[in-house]
Symmetry: C2
Subunit: 406 residues, 2 copies
């Protein structure tokens, strides 16, 4: 009889954003006129950048003409034009990433979920707490044991390795979702050293790298010595160029990452690049050609200008939020190198209770920290993905809420 | 230490089409002028249908405007407009498929590969031999035991269930890739009955359903009684509307498919629809909005007319091939309800040898049957995805080859 995968039984029942949607729907049913401002789910609010729109349209037109039509991509790993542009982009901030180690994908979520497939279920996974839920869910689905590295007030929500603990796989996200913190060169070097010492692999989620403003924060893990021997980096066009609904990302899997074969068996696949090639070759057929052309356009000088202008707008919003929190003397991280601001719930409330209070009394939607892990139980995430007007209004309401409830 | 997934060690080293590419490259290096005609990999040759081009362009333009911009899809399962169009399409040939059982995906390959994730590794999988290699590779990657159901001359390459064998999961493809055969209502009913008797789940790949011409061949497994209790159906826009490079497909997972929980444990997920929702919710973020709009357009009256006209062209090619094979008295299946023609290699040669002969002596590329399984060792696949001129020329060359070698 067909059985559900045993690993699925260990998953928590509901996904964070489903519960949030449920609570919002319920509130709206009873308060249809409430002027809700959404600062919860990390979706962008600025449209797709103009260069990407133009390139996407042009590529669709090409698809309709026999001479320029594109069918299956030979490799399914991405067209050379896009991989070349990505490699150039990396060079721009000093990271050397060969084109044949780049895999174009339909987004960072798919890749950070699927990458677990190539590792043996007996690998012990270290995940920061709090973290993006996909790392936990996909590790559970692939039957791996999880241990947590605490991000908390004592380390200003930038978890560091515990040298006494063994790991085989490590998920890191910097700038971090949800805490908004970005690792310094020194901190990230500590993680790379830890990975090398453990012969472990780091899955490095750099989806928010373009938001980094401070010079002591690396925009790629490949700026750290030895990272090519231990780190897979995942990146995305979502948050900078507005690709959340257009869907494109890329993952770098260095050939230098050696993988051990389990049970002392011999294996024809001996590195992570070959393993991921095999996985993608069997279960993926590449990203839509028009989408790849749209992504390529993001790397043009005009495209880079457009995403910088987008980021500048989100950064102003982040400043509005952090300024308000500072004035209210609420402890927070993030907002400087990240679109996320992670703050301590006022009055010692727990994060779901604060969610309800903020929704009901200020009509502002945020994300309860508990949805990202135990260390988020008393924390709350706001995003800068909104208009300046809405961000200002939301902060006025938060200030009023704090005054009213004093 | 990070180990490669143990299951990957059981994969065969190289993917069929990689070996084919290698042999073609080698041949071309020594014969740069050879007028090669490709009738190998199942890629289409007609461009993306005009309605899809237009809808894709329009949707990209929408993405650039704040008011019509689309970010993350709420569910990631596909927009209602597309699921509605798919449900209507099914109704058109008498199958009732509720919209909330449809999952829009980036293609049949991803889904037929990933669907295995939701089933326990101890499930025994039945796969026809020959078959699309993805079924085998993804079953191996997910640690499942495979048994084969023979498609051979005795059943005219339409494998039937062995009632004495137990199964938990069954991969079927009809019209079949590579054999070109389509199950009759009666044959498919036998498989559904077998699945029900075994409490098994059928993964039914219907990517070529639009090629069916004969009235006794069902275009969906849901036209068979009880299929909603045991069958997942996977479909694609690739071969009819020219989406091989645009990437869109859909998978139907009925809520009526109950899944047992392993080891007598209790599970909150009790059916295949909920399990697949959970898998996709954690590892997938939906299909690009412009691509979904392009797919929607395929179901418009104009779109249906355009795909019918495409299929008609491919069908003429299939007739050219089957006519030639008949004249040459070469045994074959397919070509009537399918773009594929599956024939017996002449002179008792094995399929890779015939591949080399056909490439070197006739400059025609096909696909060696062995790439699809043991029962393809003496068989060869040609596709009708080409121009009429090329198809005619290829058949002239085959005729000459047969005469020359008599």
């Amino acid at each position: 009889m067909a059985k559900i995968n045993r690993t699925f039984l260990d998953l928590k029942q509901s996904y964070l954003f489903i519960e949030i949607s449920k609570r919002i729907s319920e509130f709206k049913k009873n308060n249809p006129e409430a002027p809700i401002i959404r600062m919860g789910i990390g979706d962008v609010t600025l449209p797709l950048v103009p260069v990407a729109v133009e390139a996407g349209e042009k590529a669709f037109a090409e698809m309709g003409v026999k001479e320029t039509f594109k069918g299956y991509e030979d490799s399914g790993k991405g067209y050379d034009f896009l991989k070349k542009a990505i490699a150039e982009y990396y060079k721009g901030f000093g990271a050397n990433v060969p084109e044949d180690e780049i895999f174009v994908s339909d987004g960072a979520k798919s890749d950070s979920g699927n990458i677990s497939d190539i590792f043996n279920p007996d690998c012990v996974v270290t995940i920061t707490d709090p973290a993006y839920p996909v790392y936990v869910d996909s590790s559970i689905m692939s039957g791996k044991k999880i241990q947590y590295a605490d991000s908390n007030e004592s380390n200003r929500f930038a978890a560091m390795p515990d040298m006494s603990q063994k790991s085989d796989l490590i998920y890191l996200c910097s700038p971090n979702n949800p805490t908004g913190t970005a690792y310094t060169f020194e901190q990230l070097k500590a993680w790379v050293d830890y990975a090398i010492a453990n012969n472990a692999v780091i899955i490095y989620d750099a989806a928010y790298e373009a938001f980094i403003t401070e010079a002591d924060k690396p925009r790629s893990i490949y700026l750290i010595e030895n990272a090519r021997k231990c780190a897979i980096e995942i990146c995305s066009f979502s948050k900078t160029a507005g690709f959340t609904g257009t869907r494109c990302g890329y993952t770098v899997v260095p050939k230098e990452i050696a993988l051990e074969s389990p049970d002392g068996l011999s294996s024809t696949i001996t590195d992570a690049n070959a393993a991921w090639s095999r996985r993608q070759g069997s279960k993926f057929n590449g990203v839509s050609y028009p989408v790849q052309r749209a992504a390529e356009a993001v790397f043009s000088p005009k495209g880079q200008e457009q995403i910088r202008s987008n980021i500048a707008i989100y950064r102003v919003n982040a400043e509005i939020i952090t300024k308000t929190l500072s004035e209210l003397k609420i402890d927070f991280t993030g907002g400087v190198n990240s679109p996320y601001i992670w703050f301590k719930c006022p009055w010692g409330t727990d994060s779901w209770d604060f969610f309800d209070i903020l929704l009901k009394e200020a009509n502002v939607v945020g994300t309860p920290g508990e949805g990202f892990g135990q260390n988020g139980k008393d924390r709350f995430r706001l995003t800068s993905f909104n208009t300046k007007e809405n961000t200002e209004e939301a902060m006025r309401r938060l200030q009023k809420l704090m005054t009213d409830r004093k």
